[in-house]
């Protein structure tokens, strides 16, 4: 496990979007701090600002006001290119609909982020197999997404997010398309990876199953933090 140093620091964050003639405030005065190795989640109803916050932390969007520091980089000051580089090296994404590349096998999907990092062939193959082992899919390395179940696809997506050993993994409703059994399997896998690799996991969810696994719950309401609590597991 990595030390509890801060990986994300958010100060007085405001995010507005133009909506017709008016401005819509999606996030309003957010102050949050995340330490390395957290397993936390933003929960709240639709429109509460969960995904917008995940976008900003993932350097896909920038704040209108305030400051968001991700891995010592000010998101506001990052250029498109630098943001892309930061994402490719330090941030992993897991999507609700898996978003695997359909013409590639499971191993090739997992391999893709390493190709972006220009990792050498032998090391790459080793890392891919290791990532597939983490999610228990070594035997499905050559299968294409169409030949796998939803749960298996999401495990491949987790392997793809984890293969580069990122410092932060952002997961947007990762269990929304899965049944209960698969959801629990996926979440257990993520907990295991969080514990073994010390990766910080941040979720945007309103799925009770996911909430049950979180160690810190940040409830958002109308773009503000309604409460932020650490969960004590019994």
């Amino acid at each position: 496990m990595k030390s509890n140093q801060s990986v994300i620091s958010i100060r007085n964050l405001v995010k507005t979007f133009p909506m017709g003639n008016r401005e819509f405030t999606a996030l309003n005065g957010i102050n949050l701090e995340f330490a390395s190795g957290e397993f936390s989640g933003f929960v709240g109803p639709s429109g509460s600002g969960k995904t917008t916050l995940l976008n900003i932390i993932g350097t896909l969007d920038s704040p209108t006001e305030g400051e968001a520091m991700v891995l010592d980089h000010s998101v506001k000051l990052l250029t498109q290119k630098k943001a892309a580089l930061l994402r490719s090296q330090k941030i992993g994404f897991i999507f609700q609909t898996f978003n695997l590349l359909p013409v590639y096998s499971a191993a090739e999907n997992v391999e893709f982020p390493l190709l972006l990092q220009k990792m050498g062939g032998e090391a790459r193959r080793k890392a891919v197999m290791e990532a597939l082992e983490w999610v228990g899919l070594s035997d499905k390395a050559k299968s294409r997404p169409a030949q796998m179940s939803g749960g298996e696809c999401q495990r491949v997506a987790i392997a793809r997010a984890m293969v580069k050993k990122p410092e932060i993994v952002l997961a947007d409703e990762p269990t929304a398309n899965l049944d209960a059994e698969n959801s629990h399997n996926i979440l257990k896998t993520m907990v295991k990876l969080n514990q073994e690799l010390g990766t910080t996991f941040l979720f945007a969810t309103h799925d009770e199953k996911v909430i049950g696994y979180l160690r810190r719950i940040i409830r958002l309401y109308d773009g503000k933090v309604a409460f932020d609590e650490l969960v004590t597991k019994i």
Binding site: T51, L54, N55, G58, L60, D61, Q80, K81, A83, A84, L85, L86, R87, S88, Q89, I91, F93, F95, Q96, T97, N99, L101, V103, Y104, E108, E111, F112, P113, L115, L116, K118, R160, D172, E173
Partner: protein, 422 residues
Amino acid sequence: MIRFLFKGLLRDRQRSLLPVTVVFIGALLTVFLQSWMTGILGDMIDFNAKFSTGHVKVMTKSYWDRVEQMPNDLALINTAPLIAGLEKEYPDVEWVSRIRFGGLIDAPDSSGETRAQGPAAGWGIDLLSPNSREAERLNIPKSMVRGRIPQQAGEILLSEQFAQNLKVGPGDAVTLVGSTMLGGMSLYNFTVAGTVSFGSNAIDRGAFIADLQDVRMALDMNDAAGEILGYFRTGVFDKELASGMVSGYMAKADTTDEFAPIMVSLRDQNGLSAMVDYMDYMIGIGIFIFIMAMSIVLWNAGLLGGLRRYGEVGVRLAMGESKGHVYRSMLWESVLIGTAGSVMGTALGLILAYWLQKTGIDISGMMKSSSMMLPSVFRTVVTPATFYVGFVPGLFATVIGTALAGIGIYKRKTAQLFKELQ
């Protein structure tokens, strides 16, 4: 990375097979069109050069002014020293005298009375000199239908069609009724040695071919010739070379004397310059239209592919691939597709072009009443350009189409990715 993307390209047939097919068809059509137009143009130029214009032509200024009338009263005289001078100055050109004339051919019956008559377009060419290549140049040996090539003075060839109309054949006597160089009436007897068919209706309707010396005798044109034709020894018309020769010759020519010799290039005769320029223009327009049409088709295919790959591009951007890298990878894909389609289209186009270069398409049925000097069999011609012209639409259109379609990548907002990928 390139291998990875190439693998995806091969596996996704909508990304590879469809565009490659479009490019293949476009390249094939372009290659075929180019070889077809070049073939027709080349055949037309060659045909005109051999029968009428030469690569360059020397004649008197007055003759040139009325060249359609073949005015032999304005012909060049003392041609032997003139040709000697030309041969000395232009050793890479073969110079030949010709007399073109009109007249009436009279076919008598057994008692010597007129049985049939018909207007003839006559050619006086050097058939009997041992070193003359005129018969070969006009493709006479291969055009023979009956009889043989004249071997002695007084023998002529008639076009087969003309001979049939006059009901004469090899061995029959005919009389040329014409006009001498000095304006007198000429009656001269010939024996038909054989009949020919050149495959051009304009010539085959009434061709009368005799040895130059015979025609000189018949038309009182001793050492005279209507035209002195120059042929490059390479056998190929060179526009620049001909133009340079004409400029050089005309700079020294006496332009005030209407009987002084002048030189004109093939392009300046029979409206060939306009025709050659027009054909070049049409080939250019044709290729341009192909490129535009294919660009639009491939742009559309690129847009559809872009929509289909919207998710893929989104994931790639989210995972940290830069927009420039995604865009460049798509351009590389299009280069691969364009190259593959162009190579295949060019290969098949070349096979077709080589086949039609050998067999040709017989259009004599359409030329029955035509007076244009055109060959009756059109053939394609494979030139160095045929090997690369297909790559112009094939490669450029694909890359342009993809480049236009891919602009959408730059317009995409990464802030929407999570929502779009849901």
